[in-house]
């Protein structure tokens, strides 16, 4: 059975990718099971989808814990524990990462025995949550790597899954996807299927007798305030709003009040200060700032600048 997991952000079309690939397998005569994994299914938030394909009916269910192929549409997700990209990856796994960086860099960075293949990233659009075609490209690359889906069948599958969006969109997606398909030709067949787990040689589940605990502990309740701050919703962000303090007129009551999440604090000097741990990148502040002092740049660009020591928050007056 092929066990394939897609990782992306809400809005990047991972559900579509899983469906295109699922349909392609199906057209090639495979039994298929595909599903998106809904979490907080929000734009920008990490989500995943999966596809299982086999010649006989697929009986396995749920999250894929031992993937043969892991596809990552947004490489900023790889280092994010919450995204779960590295779950269950071992030497058998092939990782396909949509990235500017090389396979060698990733291999070194992740220190993994998995095989890493790069799908060269296109950067037509600033906002990664709006990357068009990324779902189609990922699906195409996957299809090629399995070596059981022909180019023509893939094209048919994509057309079928996207036809409700109109001919133009289908054509655009197809052109770009097939480029990705072709780009994988040095690696076709690298993805290997895996079989059933062994019932003789297996890791015993560490079953416990769940201890009784008093209602004070075991009732569903939270006895602390504001624990939500531990959730870094800043990870959803694909565009980062940055205040240019030279233009900022200090009217914090505008941006700070309008931020739906309350992620703009006011400093002691009376200036707005964006909490990047939690800012979701909705950009309401950018739209509402009267002197236009807030600019949005792609999050991955902001991160790169951060890593290379560039301070981007400007000098606070």
């Amino acid at each position: 059975m092929f066990r394939i997991r897609f990782h992306g952000r809400g809005g990047q079309g991972m559900k579509t990718a899983s469906r295109i690939l699922g349909t392609a397998f199906f057209m090639e005569g495979y039994e298929v099971q595909d599903a998106p994994r809904y979490g907080a299914e929000r734009r920008g938030a990490p989500i995943f989808a999966y596809v299982r394909a086999d010649k006989s009916p697929v009986n396995e269910r749920g999250v894929i814990s031992h993937p043969d192929l892991v596809v990552v549409s947004d490489d900023t997700l790889v280092g994010m524990p919450a995204a779960g990209v590295m779950q269950g990856i071992n030497q058998h796994t092939v990782m396909l990462i949509n990235s500017h960086e090389s396979a060698k860099t990733w291999q070194h960075r992740l220190n993994t025995r998995a095989t890493i293949i790069i799908l060269p990233a296109r950067e037509d659009v600033e906002d990664r949550a709006e990357l068009p075609y990324i779902g189609s490209s990922c699906a195409a690359a996957c299809a090629a790597l399995t070596n059981v889906i022909s180019r023509d069948v893939f094209a048919r599958a994509l057309t079928e899954e996207l036809e409700h969006l109109g001919d133009d969109i289908v054509k655009q997606n197809l052109d770009i996807a097939l480029t990705a398909f072709d780009a994988m030709s040095p690696h076709v067949g690298i993805v290997k299927q895996s079989g059933l787990p062994s019932a003789t040689d297996y890791k015993k589940p560490e079953w416990i007798e769940l201890p009784y605990e008093s209602a004070a502990i075991s009732a569903p309740a939270i006895h602390a305030g504001v624990t939500s701050v531990e959730v870094r919703t800043g990870l959803w962000r694909t565009m980062r709003p940055i205040i240019n303090y030279e233009k900022c007129s200090g009217c914090w009551w505008i941006c700070s009040t309008y931020c739906p999440d309350g992620a703009i604090n006011v400093s002691a000097e009376g200036l707005p200060d964006i909490d990047y741990e939690h800012c979701k990148g909705c950009l309401v502040c950018v739209a509402q700032c009267p002197p236009d002092a807030i600019e949005a740049i792609p999050e991955h660009v902001a991160k790169e600048q951060e890593m290379s020591g560039v301070s981007f928050s400007g000098d606070k007056a």
Partner: protein, 308 residues
Amino acid sequence: MIKESLVHFHRMKDMPSSHLLGTGTPMCAGCGGLEALHNMYDILGEKTVFVNAAGCMTLLSVYPFTPFRGGWLYTAMASAPAGAQGVRDAMDIRLQKKKLSEDDNMEVVVVTGDGSAYGMGLSATSGAIDRNLDFIYLCYDNEGYGNTGQQYSAATPHAAITSTSKGSHGYPGFKKDLFSIWAANRPAYVATIIGAESLDLAKKIEKLKTMKGPRMLIALAPCPPGWDYDPKLSVEIGRLAVQTGVWPLKEYIDGKVVHTKIPRQRKPVEEYLKLQGRFKHLFHPQRDEQGIAEIQARIDAYWEKVTE
């Protein structure tokens, strides 16, 4: 009621500079409902117990995370006002028996979406008003069953595309007038608010803090995924809702309805509609002049009758 020194909201500058509602909740980026809620929470403060019915905001608190400094109780879709009744009564009993100090007293605040408020929650709401329950009710109205994928509700406006009204003309029904239904029950206070008009919102919260009895609020909550627009437009769309007259800002108090903002020259409603994908069919592939005109006419008819 806990009396505090009154903060007077005259200008935007008077808005609170610290935000009490915790960040890190899974509401969508640009959520108009969250914006109204966090503005309200800043002013009401942490001596509040929020009682919730099923909807988007139910996910504010997912174990072990909560954005609240005070209380939160999730009940069920139809019965949040009944839940509020129990909490309020219990606290009053304990206050009376001196088992709860006045310092530890809390304001009970129901928060539900339009799905509950306009529909199956109406019975419990009506009952709570009948009983003159001393509580606040915030309905964040994103004009559909948002949490399940934006199906139409009784709050959906005419012609809106929703996932159960995908026909070429959108939703055939008309938005229910919840404000009037609540007002007919004669609670202490009813008001419409919106996050985009923060000052108006702040004044109303400040006012109802000093009152007792059922104090009811409907906040129009622009919804990026449900209404189909880029999240950064949330405040602009909210403002246009007021400027076009789609969302009248008004209060019911002492038996009368008074508008707190009367747009002098209303912007044409299409400026509001055209920013939202749910109304796209009114403009593409060609303009539906009749459809737009009908919507405009209904808004004009409303404002014709408004004297204050």
